[in-house]
């Protein structure tokens, strides 16, 4: 008799527990430098979602190179949301896997990029080589560290920023190509990812200047000392828009669509924007941007659409096989 009662009580208990709070899980597949950002953001979202829907949500994270992460999702990694380094990588989810609709970028405000960043220079203490702008990077004897644009999303932004600077200053695509070729002759180490380059520059002492994401540069300062690694803002840089999207096919299968949407929308909320700014990303919300204006210097920024006609074209011209990046090495 006794075991039966025990069993029934157990079953009843399990049933009540299940009704009270559903533990749910979300997988956010992201790129390398956002780790610190999403640790803080996920905790805030869990609190928000508990208050709103009553469920206990755990957000699992996966980080890696942006292109590699996109490929994993295309190959079947069950990501509810992707938060990658560039729109081009999210486009691939549509082109290669039909996981999301073609017009994904219009589903959320401001090109589905809730926060932005840009490209800056990190130099040695006291800036011994006197680096102020892109021109200083092609001088003989200046050693540059940047990741490989073929394997790193951040490095594509670096490359395009340098290209656009030269095109505006010297007036032609041909001149821009020469400029960039000259610049890459000065590159001492081409790491495969942005974090790898940071380590090479900071830990190994290689290079006079490191072309970096702004948020990555701030983080390096925070970790290793502000005076040791001063940041230099070039006269022209690029507006880097790391975009986000839900993965429609996965959320529909898992039944997490509403929560995944709320997760991304929460990035645009005041709290989400505040967290982004605290983690060195430029917030979109103007009030919060104003609050952090002392941190983020006003810079002259171009967008990928106006300067290069969008990611599809930029990738084809510059980074595909036989593109300009290949040409500058194989003369």
């Amino acid at each position: 008799m006794k075991p039966k009662i025990l069993l029934l009580t157990g079953l009843a208990l399990a049933a009540t527990l299940a009704a009270a709070a559903k533990p749910v899980q979300l997988l956010n597949v992201s790129y390398d430098p956002t780790r610190e950002l999403y640790v803080e953001f996920n905790a805030a979202f869990a609190k928000y979602w508990k208050a709103k829907a009553g469920d206990d949500v755990t957000v699992k994270q996966s980080h890696g190179g942006s292109g590699k992460q996109a490929r994993s999702v295309i190959d079947g990694l069950q990501a509810d949301v992707v938060t990658l380094a560039l729109a081009g990588d999210i486009d691939a989810l549509h082109e290669m896997g039909k996981l999301i609709p073609k017009d994904w970028i219009q589903r959320l405000p401001q090109n589905s990029a809730p926060y932005t960043s840009t490209i800056v220079f990190v130099v040695r203490a006291g800036n011994p080589k006197g680096i102020k702008d892109w021109d200083d990077l092609v001088k003989p004897g200046v050693s540059v560290v940047t990741p490989n644009p073929k394997t790193s999303g951040g490095a594509m932004w670096n490359y395009l920023a340098a290209w656009e600077f030269a095109r505006r200053k010297y007036g032609s695509e041909e001149k821009a190509r020469e400029f960039v070729a000259q610049l890459y002759k000065n590159v001492a180490v081409l790491d495969s990812g942005a974090r790898g380059s940071t380590t090479t520059f900071v830990q190994r002492g290689i290079g006079d200047v490191f072309i970096s994401w702004e948020n990555e540069a701030f983080l390096a300062q925070k970790e290793f000392g502000k005076e040791k690694f001063p940041i230099v803002a070039p006269s022209l840089s690029i507006l880097a828009e790391p975009s986000v999207s839900i993965v429609d096919r996965v959320v529909r299968k898992k039944g997490t669509e509403a929560m995944a949407k709320a997760y991304l929308e929460f990035l645009y909320s005041d709290e989400g924007q505040e967290i982004a700014a605290r983690n060195f990303y430029r917030p979109r919300n103007e009030a919060i941007a104003a609050k952090y204006s002392s941190r983020f210097v006003k810079m002259n920024l171009v967008t990928i659409d106006e300067a290069f006609g969008g990611w599809a074209k930029a990738k084809r011209v510059h980074f595909a096989d036989g593109g300009t990046f290949d040409q500058i090495y194989v003369q």
Partner: protein, 298 residues
Amino acid sequence: MAFARRQRSVLPGFGLSLGFTLAYLSLLVLIPLSAAFIRAMGMSWDEFMQAVASPRVLASYRLTFGVSFLAALVNAFFGGIVAWVLVRYSFPGRKIVDALVDLPFALPTAVAGIALTAIYAKNGWVGQWLDPLWVQGVTKLSVAIPFVDWKAWLGGSIAFDRPGVFIALTFIGLPFVVRTLQPVLEELQPELEEAAATLGANRWQTMTRVIFPELFPALITGFALAFARAVGEYGSVVFIAGNRPMHSEITPLLIITKLEQYDYRGATAIAVVMLVASFTLLLLINLLQKWSRRYYRI
């Protein structure tokens, strides 16, 4: 290919062991690998050639295969000495050295790359005095023999250049040589040496005529494995190579590069070329070994 037995052996278990071997091999290795071949076959010839024979890829083959060969050669020589010393001599710390040999297997390749870079970089433990010596040496060589671009061949520094690739590939290949030789040395019958000595051979003759022929097949195997492993190595090399296109970029990195651009076919095409090259080399070495065994057994 036919796996027919050539002569009847009294020993049992041929069918069972060969059958199991072939089944396991097919399921785990051959069928998955054929997926790569089939994916690469979807390309037209021009596409294929463009993927596998562009100047950057060719430069990477030269670097990868050349340095791997060199590293395996160095490993065969020094690894041979290490194995001999470990099995034959006793000295303080012998067991610790013995245990250390497995390190390159146990340490994840990325950690190995980071650790080696930390040691051999300009500001590293060894690099701080070795790097200037290397640069000086290369400069002197350029003066002495001016017709060769020594700096391009030997690199302008140790870490983040070609010597770094060599260091990483030597590191990961070492246990293959030592661990292949060690069991053979352990099983080596002292009677052979005793017989040689009794017959009047001196130590050198015993070494070269008796011991070396016994070890040769294992040494060749160790060399081949170290070489094959080095050719495919990625994790440790990318940290220390500098990865400059046309100069210190290895082929596995180019495969990754293609993958990052969603070019599965280009990536598998290069992989197929590497596979075929490695397979041919390994086959040659295995044939050589078979021949050497027959030759020395007579």
